[in-house]
């Protein structure tokens, strides 16, 4: 590991983008219709390109090549958040994670435009312009699926509830966060960014009447979603026990993070069983033919 905290910051974001891009690329050829297939493939290509740009900045400090950083590290040296490595499951989960990831990424990029680390601030300014297309895409699916029909709304709400706790861990503090904050390489702490993101996501969910997503537990159903006479839907609780995301609480009309993360440890290299097969595939060529070019 490089002792420069800036490398740690760059790798955490680049790893998120690379692993997300790898997962999205698995949809190529399999999406239910061609326009969406192009969207997934295109977004995957963008994310991997963004990862490359960040690995290049890190490589200039660290001494390893961008390819070595992207594909030549051992599994515990990757510091992406665990949510990025989760399999795509169905389109509901893919769309839910896409919305949660891209809104979180946009908080982070927004903050980093003010970084005192010049190369990073410059790169982020460019990446943000491209990420806007991803955000529009994620939000279009959010609106479409959240407004029904009822099965779509149900599955999307369940997927959001399942993904949300791990999405919060995108804002797990970095091991060197204090040093990064001290010289404003990182202008806002992860906990500040998490609060801003929760406010945004909470607002979006309230707008479509799905705030119950924030109250549901990990892997749990948000309850049955029923259509109302007004054509929208509401959620009714169907389980006897109260469901709650353990790390969230509603105080003074706002959702706040009260500590702890599901899927914690991603930022220090602790991953789930889902990462091993992804890593095997992603790094296979690099391991078999070191230095391969095309």
């Amino acid at each position: 590991m490089s002792p420069d905290p800036r490398v740690g910051l760059l790798l955490s974001i680049a790893d998120d983008e690379l692993v997300m891009g790898h997962r999205l690329s698995e949809w190529t050829g399999w999406v239910p219709y061609v326009e969406e297939d192009l969207a997934m493939s295109s977004i995957a290509q963008d994310e991997i390109g963004h990862a490359r740009a960040l690995y290049e900045i890190a490589a200039a400090i660290d001494g390893r090549t961008p390819d070595e950083l992207a594909l030549g590290r051992a599994m515990p040296d990757y510091t992406h958040a665990v949510i990025c490595e989760r399999p795509n499951r169905d389109y509901a989960y893919t769309a839910a994670r896409h919305y949660l990831y891209d809104t979180a990424d946009s908080e982070r990029l927004e903050a980093l435009t003010a970084s005192t680390f010049k190369e990073l601030a410059e790169a982020v300014r460019v990446l943000r312009i491209e990420e806007r297309y991803h955000l529009d895409h994620a939000r279009a699916w959010f609106r479409r699926l959240a407004s029904g029909p009822v099965e779509a709304r149900q599955r999307y709400a369940d997927a959001l509830a399942g993904a949300l706790p791990e999405a919060m861990a995108l804002f797990e503090p970095l091991p060197d966060e204090e040093a990064l904050l001290a010289d404003e390489t990182l202008p806002l702490s992860n906990s500040t960014m998490l609060s801003a993101w929760l406010e945004r996501v909470g607002g979006d969910l309230e707008d479509v009447g799905l705030e119950r997503v924030l109250e549901a537990g990990d892997e749990a159903s948000v309850g049955e979603v029923l259509p109302t006479s007004s054509g929208t839907s509401e959620v009714v609780e169907t389980t006897g026990k109260p469901l709650r995301v353990p790390e969230l609480d509603r105080r003074d009309g706002r959702w706040v993070h009260v500590g702890g993360f599901s899927g914690a440890g991603g930022r220090s290299g602790t991953h789930s069983e889902d990462f091993a097969p992804l890593w095997e595939e992603m790094t296979a060529l690099h391991r078999a033919h070191p230095g391969a070019r095309w």
Partner: protein, 155 residues
């Protein structure tokens, strides 16, 4: 501008975008800087899209063209993210070349005129197309699908 710099810029003005072979990288506004010294030529380019798979090919093509134009000097061509590339950088010639290729040049308006018949009665079919920089559109007048260049703006 000295003679060598003029020769280098001329050479760059002949390097084509491999994915839109009617456009040169100069027309697309990729050339950010040309620095010439007695020993070296350094060219700095901007990527249209950061994940564009054609970047390395463009870089190698540009390096070869510049080396021919400035023999004896050490040539370096690199991409930078110092400044965001935006679609405002595409020249009038570049926009015309895109149109003849069947790609509607970027505009801030939502309705892009059809590159085939010029009608404004067009719709955005898909915001993502065959390359990161293109969208898929449809002309309701001549009933042809066409591609549009993605508009890229800072705000």
């Amino acid at each position: 501008m000295n003679e060598i710099e003029t020769a280098v810029r001329d050479a760059l003005a002949h390097v084509k975008d491999p994915e839109i072979p009617v456009c040169t990288i100069t027309q697309l506004g990729l050339v950010e800087r040309v620095e010439v010294t007695d020993e070296a030529v350094d060219v700095t380019l901007l990527p249209t899209f950061v994940g564009c798979p054609a970047l390395e090919e463009i870089r190698v093509d540009a390096e070869r063209a510049v080396a021919d134009a400035a023999p004896g000097r050490h040539v370096t061509v690199r991409f930078t993210l110092e400044v965001p590339w935006t679609t405002d950088r595409i020249t009038e010639e570049g926009r015309e070349a895109l149109r003849t290729f069947g790609i509607a040049p970027p505009l801030l308006q939502i309705k892009l005129p059809c590159p085939n018949c010029g009608s404004l009665d067009t719709t955005l079919e898909a915001p993502f197309g065959p390359t990161p920089c293109r969208t898929i559109r449809y002309c309701n007048a001549c009933r042809n699908p066409f591609e549009g260049f993605k508009t890229k703006k800072e705000h």
